[in-house]
Symmetry: C2
Subunit: 256 residues, 2 copies
Amino acid sequence: MPIDPHSSRALYRQLADELRSKIYSGELKPGAQLPTERELMEQFDASRNTVRLALGQLANEGLTVSGRGRGHFVRASAPLLFLATRSESPDRRANTANDAWTTDVTAQGRTPAQTIEVSIVRPPQNVASLLELEEGETTALRTRLRTVDGEANSLSMSYFPMSIVATTEIVQPDDIVRGANRVLAEIGHDQVRYLDQITARMPTPDERDALRIGAGIPVHEHVRVGYDADDVPVRVAVTVLPADRHIIQYELANAQ
Amino acid sequence: MPIDPHSSRALYRQLADELRSKIYSGELKPGAQLPTERELMEQFDASRNTVRLALGQLANEGLTVSGRGRGHFVRASAPLLFLATRSESPDRRANTANDAWTTDVTAQGRTPAQTIEVSIVRPPQNVASLLELEEGETTALRTRLRTVDGEANSLSMSYFPMSIVATTEIVQPDDIVRGANRVLAEIGHDQVRYLDQITARMPTPDERDALRIGAGIPVHEHVRVGYDADDVPVRVAVTVLPADRHIIQYELANAQ
DNA sequence: AAGTCCCTGTTGTTGGTACAACTGGTGCTA
DNA sequence: TAGCACCAGTTGTACCAACAACAGGGACTT
């Protein structure tokens, strides 16, 4: 019995440790139900507050989920989906009726869909700096909510300097089947170099809402800056990916 | 007054929303102290438990930190540090007394250090599968805890198939200044291709401990598989990076 | 001037209670 | 058989109380 009331470690932490190790060891398998709060109260001679503190800890670590009237369950390990970065390779874009992402997802046997909104905005500070914009310059913003099999999947915001795209179809709220990148290329701003920065954080309430993100699940924030042949940044794409549904993958050839 | 006791939204959620929006709007700046729990109890006419539920929510989102006897504070935004992936480019490794990471960190004006442990282990399932090992095969494991300016920074575990490295200095618990990759190259297993997979999750208690990770901060798990010219996987490096201290960066040239 | 002690204020931990809201099953009814 | 009503069980929300542990400042001592 690993519960020691004389230990300096808080009781609820010991309880959380106990349950956590049962999850890691496999004694409690994904999908399995944990003991009810009442059972844990009796087993460990603790108050309900204490038991709930421990269970809350596990939930915040992304290990468990719970539902009113149902119980606490070990989170079923996610049906992982790939974001193949590097899928913008040139030969992928031409001639197909779909963009690279749609093709990727379809290839995995899932059903993709997306809604697009377009607006003209002053970009956030970090985007403005990546695009090397002057104070007050505006951008076209194409916001994309992607769904797979009807479930929200990722949220992508692409910023284009208005000074470059003002007269193109990028500012039209339509799906551009051949890809916005191709439009850029047609007006002489083909992207020849990318800079990717990946951060991880807990989602904002808006994101939790839009992407149906459970408690204890972080998000990737994937920022891609595209540069044209003159080294001018022509696009910043910010993609928010719930971490339980996405692995970001890169394939690198060791040049030389 | 956004607090509505008749709302269906739980009181502690409304309170959390209220405080959160003050943080996002900048009314509460990084480092600023939030009202004390007693003050919040009075302002919102709520019990201490309810107030603490709201504050706990913010902490789990990584927005605030608290300390016994001190108070609750808006988390000071992180002094971000870069992990320049792609720093293994060939010309970087030769002739220097330091490895690529040490060079990188020093270039940023910080003081790096690392401790290395070596052992022979049966690798975890996912690593075994990435290395295409048979059941029961063992690997050399070099575990590296890196610190910057005396603070724990990242945890890296590199697995090498014993069938390849058994007779090399990789199994010795010493620092290999020219890099383990170079040793691999010398015995005919130069890595010409990498596969990187990046996931994000909440840290395990061990990791929280070893890397001093605050509540509400996720980690990146960066997995790199190195393949030699015969497409044989010769190394799997798993690196755990606290997300408040690391941005993962890739530079990509659009081949052709 | 420097150090020590203590006191106050703060968060951390743990106990208790009550009711609301929801799930899943049981058994009844049409 | 299908549908409905109900009930027991479970988690969610909210309240109250008490003590522990720690930080920081003020007062006092040396």
